[in-house]
Structures are given as structure tokens and as C-alpha cells.
């Protein structure tokens, strides 16, 4: 049996997923368009969430339909894998670092791209000579330093928000200086710690604060060719793909994109419908997806206890995610493996992802040593 077995059975053939990329309602199945889209040519959703499975009845419709279509045709873009493991794979701004040796080791281990965390990176001003050395080591080892992962909370109360916005602006300037392609950040929340949900995070006021904060960041970095993908998170003001789309429209700067982390906006209603969620997300957002976080999750507790799991073992449909990623324009898509607690699990997760991709014909750059 191969991974094709799942599709061979055609358990998933049918109704929901749009299949072909594109946002036009006319290209979507009628049931999908009727549920989600306004009339005419508008691509604005009139209702967020996935369609009902079997009617308008009394149960939360959290079980997947029997006929979800999975188009596992690979695209031409190549995936480059990076790691969030600070012990091995995440770029650190440390005096005296031997970047050339680091990159050689990472590349041998299958990591062909890297990113830095903003607070660590910005905590030290790297001398220009060191930057030149780092860039030379990147070129020498065919390694891509694609971005800086920005913490903070752009709509945090008072000084928290102000400091975060300033930090992101400074990080965007630094990323440009390092020839990066993107700075990932968040839309934030009204609690000082954006990982703590605030009851008003989904109010009109919070939304307008997020939009205003991101407009301000864009204005302060105007002309800098750095993408600003936003990462939606359940606890923050942006927590679904429809909000992603609306945010892009409302901020109105072409640099605002999507740092797609589908596990961050899973709630119980999506947990077992990940194929649909992924297809809907890619259909809706398309090439606004700037790069991707690869995580996985299981639901193993009485309360909506969603826990992380090793990539490829949980609820995320990695076959759909990897094929859809490979069908983005690219030509290179950066995929960050993160949220694992042990070094060896990063190795295992990469093996899983490479295996799934290989079975599908999705190209993952480089090789992972045995």
C-alpha cells in the first residue's frame, strides 16, 4: 500500500474542495460558493467556517464528509525546509559564530533554509564585516536566510503595543539589510501577552486596531521590499483564513501576506476536517501565502485539548498541505518545522515530511542524511 491508497479508495472524492486554485466563485463548487461567497464577482465571504456536512440540524458538524476530494497533483515549486530548533537550525546572532560550519552541518541534515527570531537577532548589532561573512557563507552553502520571525504584540495595551510596532519596523529594516525576503509577525491581541485570549479580541475595535497597527508599520517601512506575512492564531484578532483575506484587503499594502500556520486556527470544528480547511485556505488565499509553518496536532482530552504531535502523525493532512504548497507560484516555498521538544523529533519530523512529499512527487530541496 502507498499513500495513494487513500485517494484510490476515492473516499474523498466529491463535494467541497475547490481543487483548482483561484478565488473566483465561478470556479468553485456551487455548494461552496453558495455557502461562503457573496453574489456577483465579490470574493468577500458572507459567512466564515466550513459548510454543513449533512444539514442544518442539531449537532456541531465536526465529522468530515465522506466525499472530500483530494487533488494530490504536485506543483512545480520546490520546498525548502527550515527548523525552529535553537540548538540546530535556527540562525542566532552570536559574536564569533562560525556560520560556514553551521550551514554545512545544517545542509547535511536536510535544512536548506533558515530564519532568525527577532528578539534574539535584534539584541545585538551585528558588525557589517560579520554580515558580509554571513552572506558569503549563505552563498557558499546554498542556504537561504529568508526571514526574521517577529514576536511582540502590535495591539497590546499602551507601551506593549508601541514597543512592538517599533520593534517590527526596526526588524524590517534589518531584514532588508540581511537580504531576507520576509518578516513574519502577528495581528496581536488586547491582552499584553498575545497568547492569552482577551474577550474583546474579535470586536470591531480590536480589528480596527490590528489594521491600523499594520498600516502604520507599512507606512514606516514604505519602499522596503520585504514581505510581511501575518500569522493567524486562535488567541489573536486574526484566527481564520477569511480574516486573513479581509486583513490583506483592509491594510491594502501588497507586502502584507500570510504566514500560513493552519494548526494555529484549528478549533474542534476544524480538527477532523483538515483537508477541507487546507483546501479552503489555499483556494481563498492562493499566492498570498508567503511561507508555511509545519506542525501537527491531536485532540486527546475532554476539554478541547488540542496537543502538538510529530509532523505527519496527527490531524493535519500533510499530503494536501504539501501538494498545495508546491502549487504556489514560488519558485521556492519555505517550510518551517517547529514546536517540537527534542532535537531528535526535528529529525523525525523532517523524515516524515520528506517521505510524504517523495511519495507524492513534491520536490523538497536537498537531502537528509540517513
Amino acid at each position: 500500500m502507498t499513500t495513494k491508497k487513500v485517494s484510490r479508495r476515492q473516499v474523498f472524492s466529491g463535494a467541497l474542495a475547490a481543487g483548482a486554485a483561484g478565488l473566483a466563485a465561478s470556479a468553485m463548487p456551487k455548494a461552496y460558493a453558495d455557502h461562503h461567497m457573496q453574489g456577483g464577482d465579490s470574493s468577500l465571504p458572507r459567512q466564515v467556517g466550513l459548510p454543513n456536512v449533512w444539514g442544518e440540524d442539531f449537532l456541531f458538524q465536526w465529522s468530515p464528509p465522506e466525499n472530500v476530494e483530494r487533488d494530490l497533483t504536485p506543483g512545480n515549486s520546490v520546498l525548502r525546509l527550515s527548523s525552529s530548533n535553537s540548538n540546530f537550525g535556527r540562525l542566532l546572532n552570536v559574536e564569533g559564530a562560525d556560520y560556514d560550519s553551521q550551514f554545512k552541518a545544517w545542509k547535511k541534515a536536510g535544512w536548506t533554509a533558515c530564519e532568525a527570531g527577532s528578539y534574539q537577532w535584534m539584541s545585538r548589532k551585528m558588525p557589517d564585516s560579520e554580515k558580509r561573512e554571513l552572506k558569503a557563507a549563505l552563498r557558499e552553502n546554498d542556504m537561504v536566510f529568508y526571514g526574521i520571525h517577529c514576536g511582540g504584540n502590535v495591539i497590546g495595551p499602551g507601551k506593549e503595543g508601541e514597543d512592538s510596532r517599533r520593534h517590527i519596523v526596526e526588524t524590517i529594516h534589518e531584514a532588508a539589510d540581511m537580504d531576507c525576503k520576509l518578516v513574519l509577525t502577528h495581528a496581536g491581541g488586547l491582552h499584553p501577552n498575545r497568547n492569552v485570549a482577551h474577550p474583546q479580541n474579535w470586536s470591531k475595535d480590536a480589528w480596527e486596531q490590528s489594521v491600523a497597527a499594520l498600516k502604520s508599520i507599512c507606512a514606516d517601512t514604505a519602499g522596503i521590499d520585504i514581505k510581511i506575512p501575518i500569522e493567524a492564531v486562535n488567541s489573536e484578532s486574526i484566527n481564520n483564513p477569511w480574516a486573513h483575506k479581509r486583513l490583506i484587503d483592509d491594510v491594502g499594502d501588497p507586502r502584507i501576506g500570510v504566514g500560513l500556520d493552519v494548526t494555529n486556527f484549528v478549533y474542534p470544528g476544524f480538527a477532523f476536517r483538515m483537508t477541507e480547511l487546507l483546501n479552503t485556505t489555499f483556494d481563498l488565499l492562493g499566492d498570498h501565502v508567503t511561507y508555511i509553518h509545519a506542525k501537527d496536532l491531536v485532540w486527546d482530552e475532554m476539554l478541547a485539548g488540542l496537543n502538538w504531535s510529530v509532523q505527519g502523525t496527527g490531524l493535519v493532512d500533510y499530503e494536501t498541505m504539501l501538494t498545495r504548497a508546491s502549487r504556489l507560484t514560488g519558485p521556492e516555498i519555505y517550510v518551517l518545522i517547529e514546536f517540537l521538544d527534542r532535537d531528535e523529533k526535528y529529525v523525525q519530523a523532517q523524515r516524515n515530511i520528506r517521505s510524504i512529499a517523495d511519495n507524492l512527487g513534491v520536490q523538497v530541496y536537498g537531502t537528509q542524511e540517513a
Partner: protein, 169 residues
């Protein structure tokens, strides 16, 4: 003539040898002292729980080649739903029991005095999972009071093997 008798004896004995396969019927309790730590098979393999899998007590009903396994539902680590193995060497494609969403290929057969079960399935039973190959060998102790299940997991992330012992109740 002597050779022909031996061949005839072989035919006569074949059914006897076939019924000499072990009978796993009964109730079985995990014997942790004689078991190796087993990795969590389904779920709980993530960031928050790296403990070995708990083993559940088993109730087994066997009728010839058909072996039905019921697990203590309070410890959903192994089957989650009753498993039925037909040890005739035929490959069968069945729905993955713990999710009902994807399929697995399963073959059960007798090898010497062991029941051998080979399963290939999406790891967590969900679409898009990495593939997991499992081979189990079930064997009884000479006195029939201990069941040993040796499991080999092969998947891209790692290959692991462990044996869990059960005591007959």
C-alpha cells in the same frame, strides 16, 4: 513404498498440524515486569507527553483462524475498537478502526507457532499521515499462561521494536 507412505502420512497429519496452532482465547493482563517500554502508537506522541504507551488488558476470542481482540476501553492505546484477524495469509483492506476515515492493508498468518500480523496504514489513521508499517508476532509461553506480542514499527521517522507480555487471567 516407504516414500509413498511418508507422503500419505504428510497428508493425514496436515490437518492435525493446522489445529496445533496456539489458542490465544482468554483474558490477558499486561505484565509490565516482563515487558519492554512501548512507544505511544496513536496520539500522545507530541510535545506534552513522551511517556511510554500504557498497555490495556485484552480479551481474545479465537475460532480457528479467526482471532478477535477486545481491549479495555479505559486505555485506548492499542486498537481503540475490536480488531479481527483472519490468519489465512490473505491481504485485506479495511477501514482504520480508530478513525473510520482511512484504510489499512492487513495480513495475518501462522508462522510456526506464531500469529504474525502485518499492517500498513496512515500513522494516525487520518488523511495525509505518514505511512506506518507494523509487524506483530504473537506467541504463547510453553505453559500457555503468558502471551508475548513483539511489535516492529517501521516508519520514516524511526524503526522501533518492543515486546509486551500478558498474563493469562
Amino acid at each position: 513404498m516407504k516414500k509413498a507412505l511418508l507422503v500419505l502420512l504428510g497428508f493425514v497429519m496436515a490437518p492435525v498440524m493446522a489445529v496445533a496452532q496456539p489458542d490465544f482465547s482468554g483474558s490477558w493482563e499486561p505484565d509490565t515486569d516482563r515487558s519492554e517500554p512501548a512507544p505511544s502508537e496513536l496520539y500522545r506522541y507530541g510535545r506534552l507527553d513522551n511517556d511510554p504507551a500504557r498497555q490495556a488488558s485484552l480479551t481474545i476470542e479465537q475460532d480457528g483462524n479467526t482471532v478477535e481482540v477486545y481491549e479495555d476501553a479505559r486505555v485506548l492505546t492499542r486498537y481503540a475498537v475490536p480488531a479481527v484477524y483472519i490468519a489465512d495469509g490473505q491481504e485485506r483492506t479495511v477501514t482504520v478502526g480508530n478513525t473510520g476515515v482511512t484504510e489499512q492493508d492487513m495480513t495475518a498468518s501462522w508462522e510456526d507457532n506464531k500469529l504474525v500480523i502485518e499492517i500498513e496504514k496512515p500513522w494516525g489513521g487520518m488523511p495525509g499521515n505518514v505511512m506506518l508499517n507494523t509487524r506483530e508476532e504473537w506467541m504463547l509461553s510453553p505453559d500457555g499462561n503468558t502471551l508475548y506480542i513483539t511489535t516492529q514499527h517501521n516508519w520514516p521517522a524511526e524503526n522501533v521494536a518492543y515486546t509486551v507480555a500478558y498474563s493469562r487471567q
